[in-house]
Symmetry: D2
Subunit: 342 residues, 4 copies
């Protein structure tokens, strides 16, 4: 049993912890945070299903005042695990890395950290083999993770030469008050980092893109114009996506009208926290543009990176040294692709 | 075991079904809807935990085409139950009533129907006794249900003479595409129906109010100015609310910054669908206005009426002929007030 | 002096009237609407700078009760003009056409009408010559009008073979309460009508696209991937756009962060109603995608079609039978391209 | 002719400058800002109708690079005027005060500064006389300014003892990207500063209130429960408001459905920048609550404080030492109350 700890119990950290808890071949030793946030208070109200560690020495009294039991410090947690998932705020991971290195532990960082924090920039489907037995991995961000799933899917089928993406980015998560946008679309300098990151992971693809922020909280939408090595039509494109356990093909006629429909559907499915691990492709969005194929995907930003993080644990700790076996184990424990059996 | 059916499997109907399924002294016989909506498709993807009935004869093929098993018609469902919860669109309930009456079944209608559809306009805490053994009950709407909880709470402690309310109404539910508002506040003709409805249920209170629609999806916020028979201060007010199993007292310092924090917290608690049954009162909002007391409550519109609907089943079927016993059973099965034991 | 009337005094109709009033070689005879809307009440509060006609016989008393002077009926207005600009709700224009035909008048319809209502589907820059001396013209919708400006600009410089567009559509205008979207992105069936319309006007271009609705009110944003006959780089692309009097090149460093910045800028310029006739291209958005060029434009939906409507009057009435002269006259009277002289 | 300068050419500063320019008995000497913001660029595109001064020595090159002519420094501007309107960011005004004091000039600060910056906390209608001949005045913030207009109006008619207010606050201005809120209502600690500020200006009134932030940009909405010394009914209340030149009584039936309708109406009126100086009261919102009167007002946050700032210049410089004369001059030059003649 691989022992895993989680540093940072925020939007991503909570879901990483839940994800690890679902992997029957992993043990979640505990989670760490710096103060009694709402997420930590919810953990307490649930009866402390996960042990909590204090990531900021000196804050013990804050936890005590809130009546929240603490099992030790982050440094103590690190010593008990084989690998840490670091989901702290951007920049903190680089600092935490010193602790991980001190005890010679492996660690996985999230998209907010600089690439230089890690030995490899990782994506479960696109470059699993590069993560094998590495000490420090960095995962792609939510948009890039989802985008690569779709592009890699086509790439393995017919080869992808080029992609031009338009990211319609949700600007905050539900419950965020520290950031937001009101009645405005915001344009970012092109090319977007997601396109550049895709090229780092998939260097044989020419990628560029533009990102526009929108004042919503449920799911990024990415429009992709892909130039494939062999021209494919709508039906072929959909057949490729339909086989992928981390991609759900949906349609307007079923009632999936946009990102908010997918959020509602995940809640109605009874998914924990109303989350969705899979990206969605709209059947109705797939169109041919000359020899290119164009389509739209939905990225459920809160949970989309969880599967690839589980893959990363598998690769880094050599639980599975074969990509197919690694991602299959993750998919199995997270229930990904269950809908394909319908 | 009281046998219950649910007509209309939308936002409210799904939650009514879940609520009934949690009542160990009730049996959920099935749910009915008119077409394979997203909610129905989610039911199927979950493996049909509830039997589904077709509420619109002629639509059998629609369900069949979507691969959704149907157990019969709404009329057949009605014959198998003791009582129906009708959560269909406004106006449909009045039509369905003919079926309920034909088979001499009891039924509970939601806030969207006209008062005349029922024998009594019902609220679990405020007038439980009036619902006992009645055939047709109508529940208060989400805002009124939550508002009455708070006003009734103070009324039982010190007596309430008058309330002036300002409802900051969320305009859509998460996932709604059939209604919405963009960058606008919308004023409604005063007095709001919620104030009038409160007076119907609590005729000894003088109530008026103004409603303003806001472009958000998580939780109405109501500001209440209450004139009590005996002047109360902030500490007393909070102590009354803190005892109530369907009211949660929260504070800004804990991280509850607004309606979206409560939504996030419910998700982080692992509540099914990320729902919350209880209203919230902000500790920081309670202020004295001369002899009046003023405060702000949050109404989680999707699930707030579920407890009072369970109460209504208990009253209408005489499962409990005593209010205290009736609401306590509901609270117990729904886990309401668990947080009070902390 | 060409005599012009405007039917429908809503968001577009008001701006058409203002636009005609600015053309020194045209005379605005009057505007018509069916009831004392807010726009009509504003006209009255301004002292009736335009004569108002009643477009719905029977509604005279409505206007009288609101104290609004009426100069006659729509049919009477039609008889006094050379050409009508019809900006009524979709479908009404087709009905009004009978009146225009009865008096053998010319008329220009807006994007909401079916193409079959007109003899030619018109865009000032792209096919001016097709509108010359025609009786009935239909203008492209706001998104298509702005999009064609940009694509036609590149087409005339280097030739455009193909465009793949992603439209991030604002869902309502400021002040709209009859439509809206709240915290949701909405995907439409592809290809979008704007791509199809572009091909109707510019049949030599292969166009497709995807449209996503966003809950904002200021300006559509369109991402364009254009395949040109001759590869062009960023600097060349910008130099082409910078010469165009109906395109404004802006940058993030100047403070133009998104569609709302442009709306604010138009207000700060003192433009009537805070309007902007020109589309904007973000300098920072232009990137090469292999041999294609990619960029983002802003479409100020309330006013963008006004210049092309003025062009349409000029073409239909043969005021200028030469495109260059026609659009130059419009640009001059509307002050378009003034910023180029800086 | 009183000579006026404006420091800070942002949302408020631009409108103060426009307001001064409209006062025929004042001369706008110039405006000052620290860098070539969008507002400054718009000033340049308009041909520099106002002289611009550099408020941050060292930034001359920034202006030069943007091609914007500068007439000197803020300190030079101060020496040329009788009085400065300071609309800089909160806290900067206190620093600028040193310059104003150095040259013994008068100055008027905005709501963002601390009360201690000024000799008197000023509101044109409520305490004009206190501002007469004072050197430093501080104006109330936008919400408080509008609120006091309404409360003072009733107070002068029948006496106001107590108000309990609920502020539904717009969270950003159109065009703001530095702040915003997405799909969330945010509760603030009560009592709100607006209630406290009202009591500072009107010490005989007991005021408290709660503020909730909403994700919109057009106009705050305030719900007021007022306890008057003499009970008044709806008709009387409206008759008082209808006489006030800075209050517009509107109704749903006219088409004023909310704050966005008022914004649209101001644009359609042709008001510069689409601004509105007056607050609005909804006829449909006025209801009696026992002996209290309850109603809803709209606060157009961008321009509402301009009239009271003009009043402040008049009082501080003793242009008019009588309130009635002072506010009448302001109203006349700004066109306030014109609609009353209808």
């Amino acid at each position: 049993m691989i022992k895993v700890g989680v540093a940072g119990y925020g939007v991503i950290g909570q879901r990483l912890a839940d994800g690890v808890a679902l992997q029957k071949d992993m043990e979640l030793v505990g989670v760490a945070d710096v103060s009694p946030t709402l997420a930590v208070r919810a953990l307490k109200e649930k009866g402390m299903p996960y042990n909590l560690y204090n990531a900021l020495p000196g804050n013990e009294t804050l936890f005590a005042e809130a009546g929240i039991p603490v099992s030790g410090t982050l440094e103590e947690l690190v010593q008990k695990v084989d690998i840490m998932l670091d989901a702290t705020s951007a920049g903190v991971g680089a600092k935490n890395k010193e602790i991980y290195a001190k005890y010679n532990k492996k660690a996985i960082f999230q998209g907010g950290e600089k690439n230089s924090v890690a030995d490899v920039f990782f994506h479960g489907y696109a470059n699993y083999e590069k993560g094998i037995d590495k000490q420090f991995l960095k995962l792609t961000s939510c948009n890039t993770t989802g985008l690569i799933r779709a592009v890699d899917c086509l790439d393995r089928e017919v080869g992808v030469e080029k992609v031009a993406i338009t990211i319609i980015r949700r600007v905050a998560d539900p419950g965020d008050y520290h950031r937001g946008l009101t009645n405005a679309l915001q344009v970012e300098k092109a090319p977007s980092h997601q396109a550049l990151d895709l090229m780092t992971i998939m260097p044989h693809v020419n990628a560029t893109g533009i990102l526009v922020h929108t004042p919503v909280t449920h799911g990024h939408i990415i429009s992709v114009v892909a130039t494939t090595k062999k021209k494919i039509n709508k039906a072929e494109t959909l057949s490729f996506f339909r086989k992928h356990p981390r991609i759900r093909v949906v349609s307007l006629s079923e009632g999936f009208l946009g990102n908010a429909s997918l959020f509602r559907y995940a809640r109605d499915l009874g998914n924990p926290r109303g989350d969705m691990y899979e990206i969605a492709v709209w059947e109705d969005s797939v169109v041919e543009s000359g020899n290119d194929i164009m389509f739209v995907i939905n990225i459920p930003q809160e949970a989309v990176v969880i599967p690839e993080n589980m893959d990363a644990i598998r690769a880094a700790t050599s639980m599975q040294t074969d990509k197919a076996a690694g991602v299959a184990a993750t998919n199995n424990y997270l229930g990904l692709g269950k809908w394909l059996k319908k």
